[in-house]
């Protein structure tokens, strides 16, 4: 089903009931027949972005595959809170092996399905940013390179949350974690580091790459569904705020995710075979401060004094994303406009020590 | 048990020669074992391989330390490595060269080692003539068959036919046969003159 943005005009909130829409445009979650692939009873924290994202994504995939899927999970929050022995909240066939091998295990499952003459059974692998960006990177790249028929979903809460909030290759600059504490002259995570896995995925020229957040759940459902239209390696990178690790109020998870996109810090886009095919434009751009202020992991940028220098660098990276993906271009042009997107590295400001 | 050690350089088919010999013995319903000495693989480096032939199962897996026959595919190894070490008193040596043992400066060795057969065989030349490439392995085996009879020429030819195809198989087989006839001819003449 082609993506049709639905404009809601209710002031002050984005809540609009599915009942206002025709049935075929309603979200998966709104259906009484939703699969509840990740069902209730799991032990996620209040306001967990990952639990929200996983439920939406997996239910969409379950609907798209009519329940013929197998999930492979990396070690991490999702695995731990969804399978507290002796219970499980998964209603699908689900395998957890190790921290760094989810892509390889999923590739093996896909190979088995092919060998056993069951290519109709699809495979989804999922992991957090730690298991994807860092320890799972070799296996992920191998899966991409072989174009194995797996959809890999990364739930990115930008640190190793399950082990107590340690820095990962997805931790943004200046963020406080247990291993990048907010002390010293340059508090928080260093600038000039980090991996952009969606771009790495695109460099492998796999059939489909997309980013999404839990702020736009309908978009997340669409992308999970769209991904299942393809065969071969596919990658979905979902920003999922972690109230505990980010130090944001549990009730603000969706809001924080929205601010991440509206500030330009987290671009939302789709790509096929290494080319961006479309990006979600920013509706109302917000300065990065609005996003940063809501999270205690950035508190050191505001107290005891405002670190305008650091905030400016963060703003600059947001501006680069906006330029790169055309996030503030004319909103009425919804179709793919690859000519507007510059995939070359953005210009550097070496005097400020930027990467 | 008959034990053969092959010496040559990487790229000369030393390992293949040992395997062909084993294959030939197998065709004659004998037990055979062939294996290389395991150095890093690179072209031009000295390579050694081994072949054991017996009428009962071969159990050991140690290198051949006291060969009954030495097949030296590259004469440049003669003065570089101690290729003759362990050779049985009545063991034989077949050396790939157009020159004689005397001409190669090995007269003393030949004199000390008069219990066995020491022969040279222009295997590379025969290979060039019949195969178009200086791969001496097949002719060396033909020569060994004539010299020791440990395997028959037919078995060697059959092993070649199984391992190679087309003109490569035909060329190797022709070279092996020519080498067999060369050595057999020399032996016959020497016997006649003796």
């Amino acid at each position: 089903m082609p993506y049709q943005p639905i404009k809601f005009y209710q002031v002050g909130s984005f809540a609009a009931g599915n009942r206002l829409l025709p049935e075929d445009l309603r979200s998966v979650q709104s259906g009484g027949d939703r699969a509840n692939t990740l069902t209730c009873g799991h032990r996620a924290c209040q306001g967990c972005g990952e639990a929200l994202g996983a439920r939406y994504a997996l239910d969409a995939v379950t609907r798209a595959t009519k329940g013929k899927l197998i999930a492979v999970n990396a070690t991490g929050c999702l695995e731990v809170f969804s399978t507290p022995f002796p219970e499980t909240s998964w209603q699908i066939a689900w395998l957890h092996s190790l921290f760094g091998n989810a892509p390889a295990v999923a590739s093996g499952v896909a190979a088995a399905m092919k060998a056993m003459g069951r290519p109709d059974i699809r495979v989804v692998a999922q992991g957090g940013d730690g298991g994807t960006v860092d320890i799972g990177m070799a296996c992920l790249s191998g899966m991409f390179e072989r174009d194995d028929d797996v959809l890999y979903i990364c739930y990115d809460n930008q640190a190793y949350m399950n082990t107590g909030v340690q820095r990962s290759g997805a931790t943004p600059p200046a963020a406080r974690t247990a291993t990048t504490p907010a002390v010293g002259p340059e508090p928080g995570n260093a600038f000039g580091q980090g991996k952009n896995v969606p771009l790495i995925a695109m460099a492998h020229e796999i059939p489909y790459v997309a980013t999404a957040t839990v702020a736009d759940l309908r978009d997340l459902e669409y992308k999970a569904t769209r991904a299942m239209d393809f065969h071969g390696a596919r990658y979905l990178h979902v920003l999922v705020p972690c109230p505990l690790g980010w130090g944001s109020p549990p009730a603000d998870t969706v809001k924080v995710a929205r601010l991440a996109t509206e500030s330009g810090l987290f671009p939302v886009f789709e790509a096929e075979a290494g080319q961006v095919t479309g990006a979600t434009p920013i509706r109302h751009q917000v300065p990065v401060q609005d996003y940063l202020r809501l999270q205690a992991r950035y508190a050191h940028l505001f107290r005891p004094e405002e670190r305008t220098d650091v905030i400016a660098r963060i703003q600059a990276s947001a501006d680069r994303n906006i330029t790169r993906f055309g996030l503030l271009d004319d909103q009425d042009q919804q179709t793919s406009r690859p000519e507007r997107v510059r995939l070359a590295p953005a210009p550097h400001d070496y005097s400020a020590g930027e990467r | 048990m008959f034990q053969v050690r092959f010496h040559g350089r990487g790229g000369q088919g030393v390992v293949t020669a040992a395997e062909l010999l084993a294959s030939a013995a197998f065709r004659e319903d004998r037990y055979a074992q062939a294996f290389p000495s395991f150095g890093s693989e690179r072209m031009g480096a000295p390579v050694t391989s081994f072949c054991r032939i017996d009428d009962k199962p071969i159990r050991t897996h140690e290198p051949v330390t006291d060969p009954d026959a030495l097949l030296i595919q590259d004469p440049t190894l003669l003065h570089q490595a101690d290729v003759f070490v362990g050779l049985k008193p009545d063991g034989c040596v077949l050396l790939n060269s157009a020159r004689s043992f005397d001409e190669l400066g090995l007269a003393d060795f030949a004199a000390e080692h008069d219990g066995g057969w020491l022969r040279t065989l222009p295997a590379s030349s025969l290979a060039m003539a019949h195969l178009g490439r200086p791969l001496p392995g097949a002719p060396m085996l033909g020569g060994l068959a004539a010299l020791t009879g440990v395997v028959g020429l037919d078995a060697v030819l059959a092993a070649i036919a199984e391992r190679f195809t087309g003109t490569v198989a035909a060329g190797n087989a022709a070279a092996a046969r020519a080498a067999f006839e060369f050595v057999a001819g020399e032996l016959a003449r020497e016997r006649a003159n003796a």
Binding site: F85, G100, G108, A111, M116 | H61, D82
Partner: protein, 428 residues
């Protein structure tokens, strides 16, 4: 069918006949010929399997885990560094109870890097929960893979078939390769105990806390105990179907009236048997005991093999791996096995057990050296722990260097320099 064939190829053909459905390949000397041969069979359409060229051994074992959990018969091969690199996944496969079969072409573990044969790789994983079988010949290597799939699937436990790198993998020997029909008759299709099935979904791999972890581990030990019964049964069944003895727990050779028995694993047993025959001709009543199944350690079978040997005075354990700080690995298991049987040792007090570390990093274990060592053992001159064919001069020089200067340099390189300086043109 009788073939003169390289060991790796024999194994590849035997594995292919077991109809694996997913094969993962990552190259490492000296197993590469096995996966290459399998890959060719798949590419030519002679073997219907998914052949995955993975990016590391860790990925190889991981993909095999996924495939097996999804209900497919899965296989991979590795050695040395590769086995270590996949170690986390090796333990994972056993813990999950997946009947994966893997060939380990035994090779030394670095540093220093060494591509030649010894048993340190498989020994490093001896507690991972895998069944470990050691092939004595290429015939047995081929046969053990057929038995391995059956053992693994019946028990829901992974099996490692060990074969000496280069000595077996790269040796061309006579092998009677089983036929496809024979193997099909011996190895039924894989019926999993647990499987990822969308129609009957289960969660596999949950976290297990203190309340049940011990019980899960008890079951792993129990599987090993069951293996002690199953392995000889499968070997007997194999002997009936294929007409030759292969596999099993232990292999005694001329032990009945022996006073001196050599214990070893793998291809060195062939050379040892030749040495035993020579010693017998010299009047020394020698014998050998091969350990074919190392995990589970066949304590009872060892006791039975040795129990009736009333004149046994000495056991010499030839080990192709070293436990630094401890000594012999097989020796330790052997001692434990012989320590008690219902509280009574079979040979009260007077069986002397010696460990001989031999063949490390591909050093040849020769009949000549074995004879000399065993003759001195028979005369009571073998110390409890020794290295066969140790170049004491090299070691002493290096120790002297280290005493003389702090910055004595890398030991391996120093000794190699000494070696090239002192050795007469060594055969290369």
């Amino acid at each position: 069918m009788l073939r003169q064939i390289e060991g790796s190829r024999a194994v590849a053909e035997a594995v292919a006949m077991c109809r694996p459905q997913v094969i993962c390949a990552y190259p490492i000397t000296p197993q590469t010929h096995i996966v290459e041969a399998l890959g060719t069979l798949v590419k030519k359409g002679e073997l219907n399997a998914a052949f995955m060229n993975v990016e590391s051994e860790f990925a190889a074992m991981s993909a095999v885990i996924g495939a097996s959990a999804a209900g497919a018969r899965a296989y991979t091969a590795t050695a040395s560094q590769g086995l270590l690199y996949m170690s986390e996944a090796v333990y994972n496969a056993a813990g999950l109870g997946l009947p994966v079969v893997m060939t380990v072409a035994n090779r030394a573990i670095g540093a220093p890097i060494n591509i030649w044969n010894d048993h340190s790789d498989a020994m490093s994983q001896r507690d991972a929960g895998w069944i470990q079988l050691y092939a004595e010949t290429n015939q047995e290597a081929a046969d053990l893979h057929v038995q391995a799939f059956r053992i693994a699937e019946e028990l829901s436990n992974p099996v490692m078939v060990c074969m000496d790198g280069f000595l077996l993998t790269h040796a061309s020997e006579r092998v009677d390769l089983p036929g496809q029909e024979q193997v099909d008759g011996f190895l039924p299709p894989y019926e999993p105990r647990q499987v990822l099935d969308p129609n009957d979904p289960v969660s596999i791999g949950a976290m297990v806390g203190p309340e049940a972890f011990t019980e899960v581990r008890f079951l792993a030990a129990e599987r090993m105990r069951q293996a002690l019964d199953l392995i000889p049964a499968v070997a007997a069944s194999f002997a009936r179907e294929f007409g030759r003895p292969s596999g099993g727990l232990v292999r005694p050779y001329r032990v009945e009236d022996a006073e001196l028995i050599v214990v070893a694993l793998g291809s060195v047993l062939g050379t040892i048997q030749d040495a035993v025959d020579e010693l017998r001709a010299d009047g020394i009543r020698a014998g050998a005991l091969g350990i074919t199944t190392f995990r589970p350690f066949p304590a009872e079978a060892v006791r039975e093999a040795l129990g009736g040997v009333h004149r046994l005075r000495r056991l010499v354990v030839v080990e192709r791996a070293l436990a630094p700080g401890s000594g012999g690995i097989v020796t330790a298991d052997l001692r434990a096995a012989l320590a008690t049987t219902d509280g009574r040792p079979p040979h009260p007090g007077d069986t002397i057990i010696s460990t001989v570390i031999a063949g490390l990093g591909g050093r040849a274990v020769t009949r000549k050296a074995l004879r000399a060592m065993l003759t001195s053992a028979a005369q009571g001159d073998l110390p409890p722990f020794s290295f066969l064919d140790l170049r004491r001069d090299l070691v002493e020089s290096e120790l002297a260097r280290m005493r003389a200067a702090r910055r004595s340099g890398p030991s391996a390189e120093n000794m190699l320099r000494d070696l090239s300086a002192t050795a007469p043109g060594a055969l290369d």
